[in-house]
């Protein structure tokens, strides 16, 4: 089989899996059915089976129809006790009293819990989709090898998609080093998440649905990274958004999940607004959307136009990669099942923004302004999100803000022209963040659905493998030497230093410290200490199924080793050789613009005992310091954080803590301005429509009627009046004739 065919098959296989799951999935899953007639009895079972589980379910169970709820009330969510949520959560069940047959337990908000006492369900729908993704992974590896080791660049043309005058778009694939790097992450993490989900989603009636979405996501994501032109990128971009929507809202009975899904999609659309315009502008100015042709022609454009294009494209990236100010959707997206968080919201989809900017590097490189914006947004978001992550109690939210922060790191790298470093970090982050999310899923699963770290603790003893792999991931994230994250992050920091962005460098270092701190805060709060949750829940705590643990172990390997394999020596590692071609022109073009120091001809190659080495040491030590602080505060002296907050100068502590806990109120602001404002404007326009626009229409009729009524009054029924009227008419006509006489 030729490699071209393999490339074409890579996205096709998950698509086939999707179709298979949609068409046959529901028939393959045998779930004990509760007939409509006996719903009363079975309902009691159902209720009992669910009591005590449930996700965060902080949102009250009532359906919110009357008020716009684009943004679930975060404040409420944060402040309410998780245990209150437990009671509310099963509003599903409460609401079902006697009326709703309990014949479906999908969408209830938490997976992994089978109706007790009923016949054991059997699921077979995961088989084919997972196998197909497996094959696709194998193909990807072949392609990857061909590209990385064989140095090939593949163009695969499938068919002409849209031909409208000069606007001609082909469905075509491009595989170069950059794509290959993403292919590696996407297909590997994708496959592992599939396997992981078999265990994680076991017992959920919507299993086939879940796998259908996952496969569709794989298809879309592969399309996104394989596409040969901007429009295909956009197509994949939107399609992953759809899948993200479907998967975040997978447990649709939770209003919070449904709201989060919509929020994710809508916020992404805000970014797409810019992205789409950017694409149109590219085509309007260059007449093509093909990557190579665009990059070849971009230099000939007016610099302002290039800047506008770049900024518009970047708007899309900001949305997709959850950068400030469009970061608000990602933490909420944690309402989805954890494998989804691992796959989409950590390892793959959110990287699309980084990928896109990297892919469009010749455009960005032409525009210093755009580069500054990218870097600025990146640096700001990095510290902003990290600061929020410090105080979050929900384990998944910690990871979500961490993801935002790490993605921001990548943008920061892109913005300063450190393309390779950004992609390097993308790859390593894909692995370790996937691992961390899957691990957190394992924790949640083991802890009967608990997500609040304040009610965890001591899991180390009962979930050994989860603990071990999580620590590996955490070390990587914290940037401890030898783990993947260390190399990629330090490369970014080193590049920023080398290129003279000292302020950025300083911020990066602080963020690295914060990252290490909150990562290990998470580890210590969950695995160490004593169990702080409900006593009976402790009895349920157990190590997860092998299908869940094995992907963790497998992922731990690249997490531990990828940095060594790809990143040594720093700035000259293996990954540089793949990506050199892709970024070659940008390096050239960008050199003069971006960095005075490089333009001055200074060499900043890596020297172990020079500046480079120093930077390495600094990077490593802030990581260690962060871990140490976390250890001190959360293991040795749990009262310390509280004291610290109180002792902050000027009494800022509690305020800052509250602001961080509440994500600096950005969500609330958006909820107020956009959601409420939108409804307000909508209602105002509707009023205008009904009263003014339609009022004019009905008013015309009314006037005619009124006028008719007036004339009608002349019809008195009296001959003498009629005679008078006629005579008057006669007089008028005669006058008219005399007046108009020629």
């Amino acid at each position: 089989m030729s490699t071209e065919l393999l490339i074409a098959l890579i996205p096709a296989l998950p698509l086939a899996g999707f179709l298979f799951a949609v068409l046959a999935g529901s028939r393959l899953d045998r779930v004990p059915s509760h007939g409509h007639d006996d719903h009363g009895d079975s309902h009691a079972d159902d209720h009992g089976g669910h009591a005590g589980h449930g996700g965060d379910g902080h949102d009250s169970g009532e359906t919110d129809d009357s008020a716009f709820r684009a943004v679930p009330s975060e404040e409420e969510q944060a402040l309410s006790s998780p245990h209150a949520g437990h009671a509310d959560d099963l509003a599903n069940s409460n609401g079902a009293d006697g009326v709703i047959p309990a014949d479906m337990n999908d969408g209830l908000g938490q997976a992994g819990h089978v109706v007790e006492g009923g016949p054991r369900p059997s699921y077979r729908s995961w088989w084919v989709p997972t196998a197909l993704v497996g094959i696709a992974w194998a193909f990807s590896m072949v392609v990857f090898a061909n590209v990385v080791f064989g140095g090939h660049v593949y163009h695969v043309s499938v068919y002409e998609w849209i031909v409208s005058g000069d606007f001609q778009i082909e469905i075509a694939f491009l595989v170069d080093g950059l794509t290959a790097a993403l292919l590696l992450v996407v297909s590997t993490v994708g496959l592992l998440v599939h396997v992981y989900s078999i265990g994680y989603m076991d017992g959920d009636r919507g299993l086939w649905r879940f796998f259908a979405y996952l496969n569709l996501f794989m298809f879309s994501m592969l399309l996104l990274i394989l596409g040969d032109n901007f429009l295909m990128l956009y197509v994949g971009w939107e399609a992953v958004g759809l899948c993200s929507y479907a998967l975040i809202g997978f447990w649709y009975k939770k209003p919070s999940a449904a709201g989060a899904a919509k929020k994710a999609f809508v916020v992404n659309r805000v970014g797409d607004f810019g992205f789409g315009l950017g694409i149109m502008m590219i085509w309007t100015m260059l007449g093509t959307l093909n990557f190579e042709e665009v990059f070849a022609g971009i230099g000939g454009l007016d610099p302002t136009a290039v800047t506008v294009i770049a900024l518009l494209l970047f708007a899309g990236a900001v949305g997709k990669s959850a950068q400030f100010p469009l970061h608000v959707w990602l933490p909420d997206a944690m309402e989805g099942p954890t494998p989804v968080s691992a796959l989409i919201h950590a390892a793959t989809m959110v990287n699309a923004g980084v990928y896109m900017v990297a892919r469009a590097n010749p455009i960005f490189a032409e525009s210093p302004v755009a580069m500054w914006v990218v870097a600025g947004i990146g640096v700001f978001t990095a510290i902003f999100a990290a600061a929020i992550a410090l105080t979050q109690n929900d384990i998944k939210k910690v990871l979500a803000y961490s993801t935002v922060s790490q993605l921001a790191y990548m943008f920061f790298a892109l913005g300063i022209g450190a393309w390779v470093a950004a992609i390097f970090h993308l790859v390593s982050h894909g692995f370790f963040k996937g691992l961390l999310f899957m691990g957190s899923g394992s924790i949640i699963h083991g802890a009967s659905g608990e997500q609040d770290m304040r009610f965890m603790g001591g899991l180390r003893d009962r979930m050994t493998w989860t603990y071990r792999t999580m620590v590996v991931g955490a070390l990587a994230l914290a940037g401890i030497p030898l783990f993947a994250g260390f190399f990629s992050k330090d490369e970014i920091l080193a590049e920023s230093f080398n290129r003279g962005y000292y302020l950025f460098y300083a911020v990066g270092v602080i963020v690295a410290f914060m990252t290490a701190f909150y990562t290990f805060r998470m580890i210590f709060m969950t695995f160490h200490g004593a169990w702080r949750g409900p006593r009976d829940a402790w009895h349920h705590v157990h190590e997860s199924a092998p299908t869940m643990v094995w992907p963790l172990i497998i992922l731990a390997v690249p997490t531990a080793l990828a940095g060594l394999l790809l990143g040594i020596p720093p700035e000259g590692g293996f990954i540089h050789t793949w990506l050199e071609e892709v970024f070659h022109t940008a390096e050239e073009a960008g050199a003069g613009i971006l960095s005075g120091s490089i333009a001055a001809g200074e060499h900043h190659g890596f020297e172990l005992f020079g500046i480079g080495g120093l930077l390495l040491v600094i990077g490593a030590s802030v990581g260690v310091a962060g871990i140490w602080l976390a250890y001190r505060w959360y293991v040795l002296d749990p009262e310390a954080p509280g004291r610290f907050v109180v002792r902050m100068p000027f009494g800022l502590g509690p305020g800052m803590y509250a602001a961080s806990l509440n994500k600096y109120y950005v969500d609330d602001l958006y909820g107020l301005v956009w959601a409420r404002g939108g409804v307000l404007v909508g209602n105002a326009l509707w009023w205008f429509d009904a009263k003014v626009v339609d009022g004019a229409v009905n008013g015309a009729g009314w006037v005619a009627q009124r006028f008719g009524g007036l004339l009608r009054r002349a019809q008195t029924g009296r001959v003498e009046n009629y005679g008078l009227g006629m005579a008057a008419g006669l007089a008028l006509v005669l006058i008219a004739y005399l007046v108009m006489r020629p």
Partner: protein
Amino acid sequence: MMVCFGTLAGMYALLGAPIVAAAQVLIYLGAISVLILFAIMLTQAGDANLPRPFHPQVWVAGLVALIIVGLIGYAVTQTDWHAAVAVTAISVETIATALFTDYALPFEILSLLLLVAIIGAIYLARRPEDDEGAN
């Protein structure tokens, strides 16, 4: 009314149309006036209290009528009629000849008009209960 019709007859005679004058006397003074008097008597038999003769709109009516007369009068006076100075008398003979030769058709049609007027008047004026017998 009678006076008015009579005066008109005189004017027709002055204008050299004696036959018209004669017809005026015959038709208006004779037939129509009698008919109308008859009708008035017939209709007002039971009406003891004499109602107001005019409508409240009489002033407006007067104004409109004045305007019309004014307009017509204006036209009459402002127009050069190319009129002969003297009155051409028309003999009865001329009229008779014309009426039965050139004007035969209008004359015939007029007879139809009178016929339908009579038929209709009979139908309408007949008491409803008589219709049963007539049919």
